[in-house]
Symmetry: C2
Subunit: 342 residues, 2 copies
Amino acid sequence: MLTERQRLILTAIVDDYISSAEPVGSRSISKRGDVAFSPATIRNEMADLEELGYLEQPHTSAGRIPSQKGYRYYVDHLVRLDDLSPEEVKRLKTMFAEKITAMEQVVQHTSTVLAQLTNYTSIALGPEMFNTSLRHFQLLPLSEDTAVAIIVTSTGHVENKTVPIPPGVSAAELEKVVNILNAKLTGIPLIQLRAQLYTEVGQELKKYVSHAQEMIAMIENVMSGEEVHREVYLSGTTNMLTQPEFKDVDRIKTIWDLLEETPTLIKVVGESPTGIQVRIGQENSHEAIANCSLITATYTYDGQTLGTIGLLGPTRMEYAKVMNLMNQVSGQMALFMKRWSR
Amino acid sequence: MLTERQRLILTAIVDDYISSAEPVGSRSISKRGDVAFSPATIRNEMADLEELGYLEQPHTSAGRIPSQKGYRYYVDHLVRLDDLSPEEVKRLKTMFAEKITAMEQVVQHTSTVLAQLTNYTSIALGPEMFNTSLRHFQLLPLSEDTAVAIIVTSTGHVENKTVPIPPGVSAAELEKVVNILNAKLTGIPLIQLRAQLYTEVGQELKKYVSHAQEMIAMIENVMSGEEVHREVYLSGTTNMLTQPEFKDVDRIKTIWDLLEETPTLIKVVGESPTGIQVRIGQENSHEAIANCSLITATYTYDGQTLGTIGLLGPTRMEYAKVMNLMNQVSGQMALFMKRWSR
DNA sequence: GTTAGCACTCGTTGAGGATGAGTGCTAACG
DNA sequence: CGTTAGCACTCATCCTCAACGAGTGCTAAC
């Protein structure tokens, strides 16, 4: 358990280091005003805090910087969530006031604004379709042997895929299939679609349609999960470059490689639990960002967690500001989704 | 007009510099074997070439590097297009042999492979829809007052947009509108769609549908050009970081900022003429890449130029290799498109 | 318990010198 | 007359070394 004074000093060090990116010395803290002790006293406390693992020293004659444990303590116990700046409030208000008609757009837009307001990199995962249900299915022949399949979800998301038509199937038959599928599957959660093909829907098809086996195979192809890609919106990727910790090209490269590798990125960001989550340094599941912090917020629709918006920055991140923003944005999005589902 | 020996020496310098990224000295050229003159002679020629503007000297006691004009001459007159390496051929072959069903996929995949084979950054502009025609139009109500509009083009591309339904319009009326539009507009080039709304189609709508005015406004909204976004596929963005000329973080930042600003990027890459085009350094229309070279190839469908694939690297680019690859890829894509349109 | 004083550490900065790659020029050569 | 050897000169790079100063830990006094 830390004493009150230790907490005060730790707060001061973290705050200082966050804004300066330089190791913090005892003298500069003493001069700040909010810690009214002499440098010597503060030095003693700092030595204790280092022994407890909250601080680190780059080298003997340098000041202290917060360790991962130090940041964690700061985030869990010390950070105070103050109000947003007028500019931020205004920005968010106008943003959510806009007449936005597609869920993807909200997510993307939010992510862009977050990146701009914070100067970090934002990573937004578009809505996970499998938690939504089927609104409409369509199969349009393009040529003799290919057709484009279109799936519209209850959230208004449109997914499409071009597929080969089984040889010998007529346009009329395709239409019949589409009608049956729409009649039977509308309202079914996407995640269950494939399974349904083998129960009554399959029976129905076999009864009324020729080439049923091939048709089912084709439709399964359309609905196969791995093919349904998930949108990832990156924003403010270059913001990283303004941070002094990323002056080094090699370090950037590993991070950027991660950002470019969508599937891994989805895993890293998407495994967040509902709500707001702060992952500091090595708490992250990928070592490319072992000296970064990732703050994520999930968004939900109709009670289902659909996606995640994350902000990636150095461990020396402006936690107070970002956590605040995330809180606000998260709330606004929830409202928006509710209003939108009406 | 350059003498044969000058051309020989310029070629040697460009080749050397491309592979080493270091200023090239007279001695190293003399030792190469293919230029059988003493360093002193070569020095004289180099001085001449510099005076003519083909070479530059970073400082007095350094070797020479090619100037923009030097690269241009190299690309126009000296580069020899040799065959692709077996690995490259194999890679391309297997790629185009794959059963790819959507045009977008070909483009994206090609771009990825190019980035991998060359170690540069590839920028691919997805098919420009406005040169294709309407295959199918659909309007699906999502709730009482919003609907999702879906446009399927002759190339199988699906575009969708969520729009508000004018108050007081019933589902039946929407369907009627959709039917009229499909009957009248199928096969019409997308670029003409909006204009058509004001000729016979508009008349028709006014005749058979109530709220025609509002409906037309809504449909125009759907078809408004600026909203139809164009896909941009980036690949190998981190490859840039392995080039010594981009060790500097600031330089990278300006380039990356450009890559993130999609509309500008589309302008920079998309203004290429049909065929293969090399733009060196300041020949580029954006100063962020004034020390980069951009090699672009367009792809066509049915005689229409649909999009562009570009490779971005330092001016010290492996022109021979890249131009070759682009040639091949371009040809393969043309074949593919032809086979695909069947 | 707090603080002033002081010796000590160690990264940073800048000056000076050696190194060497490469040049331009001149004179000699075939 | 084109080509080449020789040589003085330039200039970026690298290394060393000393001065500097920010910051520490420890001890003794308040």
